[in-house]
């Protein structure tokens, strides 16, 4: 590939202009605002006090803050777990099986990506809320409450982040084809053995990648969660809801600190993803 390197090495005024444009764009849109969040996070708590890490930790020491992160962690964990299981299952169904409605299913899977999360939350409330919900009454009868509880938050989060896992796995499944799977079954492997020993190792990186992406998405989910959660302090208040509540209640420093933690989680996810990409290509 000497040719492309040669082309790349030639730096004209256009190259520099493009670079300046991209860097300015990123700075205005991403870097500067995030820098401000960071600055506020590490600013001294009161005049004369020390800034830095201690200020940051002090802002997060509030029990309602640790409750919020705990809840977000729990919700994200279960949502990702559910998405991984269903995501692999649905991907296999879409790629490996022919059945009526397969194309519709494939389009439906993308729906949560295009529909606003607020609408998702609203739909879940309509379907599951006690009293007027379609399934709500029946579920209430057996003592299960969805709306306003942690299971409701998990459902809303899982709904929103499901496509992330599927969209990673489907192309890989299509690419690896069925030859190896058929070879395994002709060698005597059952469906489950073929899946576990041949299919799963082949899609491993795609699954991990999808999991990391949907984890990042689940941690930051706001719209759907806002609708289904009671959203009160220590009662269904996730990290994103906490940020919004504190911000509107003039407790901005806490909001910034919590926001900074979410940013850190996202950056971590991005680092993991780029490492996976590297591993995948080596």
């Amino acid at each position: 590939m000497a040719d492309t390197r040669e082309i790349r090495a030639r730096k004209g005024p256009v190259t520099y202009l493009l670079r300046i444009f991209v860097i300015t764009y990123l700075a205005v849109l991403v870097i500067w605002p995030l820098y401000e969040v960071g600055k506020q996070t590490f600013a001294p708590t009161k005049e004369g006090a020390e800034g830095g890490i201690s200020a940051f930790l002090e802002r997060l020491s509030d029990p309602s803050v640790s409750y919020a992160f705990n809840l977000t962690g729990t919700v994200a964990f279960w949502a990702v777990l559910i998405n991984t299981l269903f995501g692999v299952g649905i991907s296999l169904l879409i790629v490996r099986y022919q059945f009526p409605g397969r194309r519709i299913l494939s389009v439906l899977v993308d729906l949560p990506m295009s529909v606003s999360p607020v609408v998702v939350g609203l739909a879940l409330v309509l379907a599951y809320s006690t009293g007027k919900g379609w399934f709500g009454e029946a579920l209430e009868g057996v003592g299960i409450f969805i709306i306003g509880t942690t299971p409701g938050l998990i459902m809303a989060t899982a709904f929103v982040s499901l496509p992330l896992v599927i969209r990673e796995i489907v192309p890989v499944l299509e690419e690896i084809g069925t030859d190896a799977e058929m070879a395994a079954s002709s060698l005597g492997a059952s469906g489950w053995q073929t899946f576990r020993r041949i299919t799963l190792p082949s899609i491993k990186w795609a699954v991990i990648y999808g999991v990391v992406l949907s984890m990042a998405r689940s941690l930051g989910e706001f719209g759907a969660v806002k609708i289904v959660s009671p959203g009160a302090e220590l009662r269904g208040e996730t990290a994103t809801l906490l940020i919004q509540n504190r911000y509107t209640n003039y407790e901005e420093p806490t909001a910034y600190a919590a926001a900074f933690v979410l940013v850190l989680a996202s950056v971590l996810a991005l680092v993991v993803v780029s490492l996976i990409r590297k591993e995948d290509h080596s």
Partner: protein, 331 residues
């Protein structure tokens, strides 16, 4: 009979892939399914393996009805055109796969894998990944993997189709020798008539979903059942009222031989050790093609424009041209 296929039909929508296929393959034989691409030969092989299901008819393997059996219960070894090796496993692990599934003792698996890798000359690559092997080596690995489970039949779908010409020829010889050593009933699909003629004990010619002829390579070559088989097994030209092979024509520079047809050489093409002459024959619309060895052509001192007399060689295989009216069967 090791494999007994009776009345098998298969359609994909409107397309008829196989139509009333009946064939029985004896134990220990190496059979080629030969035919043009899209003729249905791969479909038949996949139906025997259970990778596809027939619309009708039955498949019997070693005396048991396998029509409704899933592939993992048929005890067949299948080798794919594009190897289908397990990319994430080492060469040894690939070969061991079928045995591990069968929960054989570890020591037995180890011994068997070593034996098979020896057989396919891959012993020194046991701990490599398939991505570090060449195409020919990968296909040998796929063969070893299929043989590991001691299948009652070995099915190969265009096994050398993805390899370059030289490796292909080597592997072809090697497959024949391997079969003479292992003696497992083997069926392989190919569209290369030379491959089929060289390797197989018996050839089944399949075209447009139907069997055109079943026979030994000699039978097929010497007594083709019809025009298609004759045309598919080698080059064919027309002389007088018959179709025959270009090398089965006697060319002489003097008249006198009985039934010889006069003509003029219009084109001479030298390809390696042979020379191909295109001859305009009197009273014939299409020119005839004659192939001579280079030395023979040189001895006769032939060139474009020379007048020659052609007749079929004694004992040449020929079939009448349909609608030609000149009913000569064999010269």
């Amino acid at each position: 009979m090791s494999i007994e296929v009776r009345g098998v039909n298969k359609s994909y929508g409107d397309f008829v892939a196989l139509q009333d296929i009946n064939v029985s393959l004896p134990t220990g034989q190496l059979t080629a399914l030969l035919g043009p691409s899209g003729g249905g030969k791969s479909t038949l092989l996949r139906i025997i393996a259970g990778l596809e299901s027939a619309d009708g008819g039955s498949v019997e393997i070693e005396g048991t009805d396998a029509t409704r059996l899933p592939p993992q219960k048929r005890n067949v070894g299948f080798v794919f055109q594009h190897y289908a090796v397990f990319k994430h496993m080492t060469v040894a692990k690939n070969v061991a796969f079928g045995l591990e599934i069968r929960k054989r003792p570890k020591a037995e698996i180890k011994a068997k894998v070593a034996e098979l890798l020896e057989l396919v000359h891959l012993s020194q690559f046991a701990h490599r990944l398939p991505s570090q092997l060449s195409g020919g080596q990968r296909q040998r690995l796929a063969l070893a993997r299929a043989l590991a489970v001691e299948p009652s039949v070995l099915l190969l779908d265009e096994p050398f189709g993805a390899l370059d010409a030289k490796v292909r020829k080597e592997l072809r010889d090697w497959l024949r020798r391997l079969h003479d050593e292992v003696h497992v009933t083997t069926v392989f699909v190919t569209h290369d008539q030379e491959e089929a003629l060289e390797v197989a004990d018996e050839i089944v010619v399949i075209n447009e979903g139907r069997i055109e002829q079943i026979g030994t390579p000699d039978q097929l070559y010497d007594e083709p059942a019809n025009d298609f088989v004759m045309g598919f097994l080698g080059e064919v030209t027309q002389l007088g009222g018959v179709r025959l092979r270009p090398h089965d024509i006697d060319l002489s520079t003097t008249p006198g031989a009985p039934h010889a047809l006069a003509g003029v050489i219009v084109r001479a093409l030298r390809v390696g050790f042979e020379v191909r002459f295109t001859v305009e024959v009197e009273g014939q619309t299409d020119p005839a093609l004659v192939v001579l060895s280079r030395t023979h052509a040189r001895a006769l001192d032939l060139d474009v424009g020379a007048k020659v007399w052609l007749r079929p060689t004694t004992g040449a295989t020929s079939v009448p041209v349909i609608g030609a009216g000149l009913g000569v069967a064999t010269a």
